[in-house]
Every structure is written in structure tokens, then in C-alpha cells.
Amino acid sequence: MTTSLRLKSRGAAPKAPVDASCLCPDRLAGLSRREVELQPIQVGRSRVPLGELFEVAGDGVESIEVDGDLASFARVGESMSRGSLRVRGAVGPRAGARMRGGTLVVEGPAGDYAGEGMKGGLLRVRGDAGDHLAAPSPGSARGMNRGTILIGGNAGRLAAMRMRRGLIAVAGDLGEGAACGMLAGTVLVFGRAGPGAGALLRRGTILGLSGMDLLPTFESAGPFRFPFLEIFFDGLESIGFPVPPRARRAPYVRHVGDLSGGGVGEILVPAVTA
């Protein structure tokens, strides 16, 4: 059984920003259809019942599907810890912020700060993601700490800032300053990573399949084959995230850094493009 919410009409999408943190399995599971419709949702400065914006079908369960363009809806799936939430359309900023578990799938693009302060679960965006993907929560010294983020398109600037654990895979390109201050974890970019990737990297792995402009504070340790990458590639393919064939069983040049901060992280670039 699935709870379905359909945005009533194009005109029904509010112009004011919407805090959609109530669109979360933790908040809706166990509620009757009527109770789901009465859940308050913050639109600008006022609170309105969810039923005013969405047609609701089915009682509240841990599997939720939402149809509509939610580009002005912030915090979709915030703090979710279980179940699944699928949005057939775009979502606004901070989708999946502070996620701890469950699966959030966005069929369209996601706004800035997707997966902010993430601590577990799977966030999958089939379109592009905005800036500050997997950023630290405000006031936090660490960024993403466990979990998996998969981006089917490109992601913007400053992704994976101060990331501590987990996996981010991006099918397209990453904007500038990716994995700045990264503490550990894994970032796989099948496109090209923008300038400044890995600045102040402490530990962790960044793979740039289509190469990148490396900072001069990284030094090559030479080309190697890394069997552990195949484990990640298999895992990605097992849930339908395509891995380019040229990524498999290829030798990668390991660049160690960021030496400016005594870091021992690594940037892996295919040996043929290095």
C-alpha cells in the first residue's frame, strides 16, 4: 500500500516558499487519509492543511508517492528515518536534510542543500542537484555522516563540504570546490569535477572519471588498480545507477593530498586521461 499525494493543479502551487518537512514517512505513517489531509504545512507565514494543496489517496503508510512540481517546496523528506518517499517532479531546497534512513527518490531536479547534514539512508535525485549538496547542517563542523546520495545529472558548487562518511555518486559533472575540507567518505564523479576539488582534503576518496583540474597541492603516487572500486560500482549498478564501462577495471592514478594541510586523502583519475 502506498499513500499518494497529487498537487491539485498548477495554479494551486503556492507562490510563497513552502516548508514541506511534513512530507515524510515518519510524519504520515499511521495516519488516516483524513488525518493526512489535516496535517499542517507552512506556506509563507501561514499554516494550511495539506489537503488544501494535495489530493490525498490512501491512509498514511511508510511508502509515499507525491506527484507535482515541488520546486518551491523546501525540506521534503527532512529527518526521515524509514520508509520510502518518491516525488514525481522537482523538489526545492534542503530535500532529505538530516535524513537518517529510508529512501527518498526525486524523479526531477533538486534544489540547493539537498542531503544537508545527512546521517543515513538513500537520497536519489534523477535530475540535477543544486549547490551545497550534502553540506554540513548550520553550525556543524561535519558534513554528511553516513548514507548514500546518487545524482543522475549534474551537481552544483561546493558539494560534499566537510563530508565525514558515506557515498556520493554523480553521473554528470560537479561544480567547483567539491569535497572541500572532506574528512572521509567517497565521492564518485563520472563526469568532470570543477576546479578546486578536494581543497583541504583530510582523508577520503574522490574519483573523477572524466578528469579534473587538480590543485597543485596533490601529488601523484602512480597508477594502480583498485579492487574496492568494483564493489562500489557493483553496488551502484545493483540499484540501477549506471556506471560507465570505462570506469570498470581501469587503472587510476592516485593523487595524494591535500598536502597543504597534511591531508592523506586521494583523488583518483583514470590513468589514460591523467
Binding site: 538513500l122 553516513r146 574496492f228 557493483d234 553496488g235 545493483s238
Partner: protein
């Protein structure tokens, strides 16, 4: 009951509950995966003297975690604690040292023991941990999987952090009583060949065959086991013997498996293959039913399973 003219004695094998782990060892080539597996399972014939029983498992895995050629290995020990110790030592000394090899868990289980998380210290601070989220892990595992990348001289040794442990069955067996040593060995080799392709079982002894079967206890107080005198043909007339006069040689096949059914399946296949010319009868080693939890009767094997070989006759 007779199969191909060989008598199947109305007796049973007595098998024991043990703890088991299942590993996949991979390498750049199957040859090196097998080299590591053979090295790791050396001196692991019996818990009596080796602390564990181990061997490469029959069919090669169709897929391995890192996509390279691989070999499955089963390891059995009396307790999870001993199993952990043995895995740590054997993976550390025999797999980590083998060129290009890596080592992964292949037994999803609630109970796990530390292996990679102990071996990682060999990395002297340069080891790197990688965690594959449960969402991406093999559905059978249903947990986050942590791997350690330990820098070694040919690149990196990748080993899984923890290995699953399950209750399993060890000590499934049957005895081949032959007219001549040559006929007995040939029958045992046929049995081993037929069991090698069966999944979830191993034959821990050299070549899969035991010539020095044991009985419980000894006249010497310090020994917990000693030679199986009733089945030693040279002791006929000097000790109580279980051997007919026309038996000149006895060989034993010992089988460890992940479940009683796995062991039964292997015993059925092995007994069927062993029966034939020169084999007087098939018996089994037991201790009067007092020691092992699993009593595997020989004759019902051929009613329960449809193993290869000739059909039994009454």
C-alpha cells in the same frame, strides 16, 4: 540394501554442531585465488589438532564482490571465538600475503566476528576503511558492509571488516570397506570427485580422504582420540574387529557442511559413487549416538535424496 553390489550397512554417521564462516577469496587470476585458498586451508583437517577444519568449496562463485576470479572457502571451528582467531590468523598469513588477493565475507548472518578490523592494524595507520551502505549491498547481506584497504607492496589488500558466522554441521562421514587397497582408494577417489561439485560442503582431509579414522579416547590418558581399532585390518584377531574377512582396506570420507541437508546430499552422492566392484560395504563412524547431535543414517539417504549413481536394491 545394496548399491551396485555393495552392501550399505544399517548404521549412521554421527555429526556435530560447529560454527562456520564462508569466505570468497579473489585475485587477478583464478590460479592466485586458488593458491591463496589452498594456503589458507592448509593444516585444517580436524579440530582435534588444528583448531579448525577448512577447505575450498566446490563450485566457483558466479559473481565476486570485486568482479575478479574467486574461490569460496568454508572454515569450521568449535566456537565463534576460535573461528575468529583462526580466520584472523589464516587470512592474515595466507591471503594477505598472496599476490593480488582480496578476501570477502559470503555468509550473511546476524552473528559476525571481526577479521578485517583486526588485520587493518598491519597498515600501520595508512589503512583506509570504505563502507558500502546497506542500500547498495547484496540484498542477502542487508547490512552496511565495511571493507579495509591495507596498503601492501603490490598495491592494496582489501578485506571485509566482519565475517558472518552460523551454526553448521561437521563430521558427516562414511567408511569404504574394500577388498584391496587399490580398489578402496579408487572408490574413495570416485566419491571425492562426486562431492567436489556440491555446494556448501567441504572435505577437509588430504585429497578429501582419511585413512586414519579415530575413535574417542585412548589407553593413554592424555589423548582424546586414537586410531579406530575396529576398522584397522591389521588388528583383526588381536582386537574386536568390525571388518569382514574379505576386507583388506578401509578409507573414510569426512564431510563438513553448512546444514545437515547439505551433508546428507554430499554423503548420498559420495556413497553412490563409491559403490561398485571391489567395495564390500559402506559403513559410517559413530560413537553410539552419545556425542553428536546429528545422526545421519545411511540407508534413508537413498530414499530422501536422488543422488547420482545406480539405484539401490533391497
Amino acid at each position: 540394501m545394496r548399491i551396485a553390489g555393495t552392501l550399505i550397512e544399517d548404521t549412521y554417521a554421527e555429526a556435530f554442531t560447529m560454527r562456520a564462516a564462508r569466505l570468497i577469496i579473489t585475485a587477478d587470476s583464478e590460479r592466485w585465488a586458488l593458491t591463496a585458498a589452498r594456503s589458507m586451508t592448509g593444516f585444517a583437517t580436524s579440530v582435534i589438532g588444528c583448531d579448525c577444519e577448512a577447505g575450498p568449496e566446490g563450485p566457483t562463485p558466479p559473481r565476486t564482490p570485486d568482479g575478479r576470479p574467486g574461490v569460496r572457502v568454508l572454515v569450521f571451528a568449535r566456537s565463534s571465538e576460535i573461528l575468529k582467531e583462526q580466520l584472523m590468523r589464516r587470512v592474515g598469513q595466507c591471503v594477505m600475503t598472496a599476490a593480488t588477493a582480496a578476501c570477502f565475507d559470503d555468509l550473511p548472518s546476524e552473528e559476525t566476528v571481526r577479521v578485517g578490523s583486526l588485520l587493518r592494524f598491519f597498515g600501520d595507520g595508512h589503512q583506509v576503511s570504505k563502507v558500502l551502505d546497506a542500500a547498495l549491498a547484496d540484498p542477502s547481506q542487508r547490512r552496511d558492509r565495511r571493507f579495509w584497504r591495507i596498503p601492501v607492496m603490490d598495491g592494496e589488500f582489501v578485506v571485509e571488516d566482519r565475517f558472518g558466522v552460523r551454526k553448521a554441521v561437521a563430521g558427516g562421514n562414511f567408511l569404504i570397506l574394500g577388498r584391496t587397497p587399490e580398489a578402496t582408494l579408487a572408490a574413495a577417489e570416485r566419491a571425492v570427485e562426486s562431492i567436489r561439485g556440491i555446494p556448501a560442503v567441504i572435505l577437509p582431509f588430504p585429497g578429501g580422504i582419511v585413512r586414519s579414522g579415530s575413535k574417542v579416547g585412548s589407553k593413554y590418558r592424555k589423548l582424546i582420540a586414537s586410531t579406530n581399532t575396529p576398522y584397522c585390518p591389521t588388528l583383526r584377531r588381536s582386537t574386536p574387529s568390525a571388518l569382514p574377512d574379505d576386507v583388506a582396506s578401509v578409507l573414510e570420507i569426512v564431510i563438513d557442511g553448512l546444514s545437515p541437508d547439505d551433508v546428507r546430499r554430499a554423503m548420498a552422492a559420495g556413497v553412490s559413487a563409491a559403490c561398485g566392484d571391489g567395495v564390500v560395504s559402506i559403513s559410517a563412524g559413530n560413537y553410539g549416538g552419545k556425542l553428536g547431535k546429528h545422526l545421519i543414517h545411511l540407508r534413508p539417504l537413498f530414499r530422501e535424496t536422488s543422488g547420482p549413481g545406480p539405484s539401490p536394491t533391497k
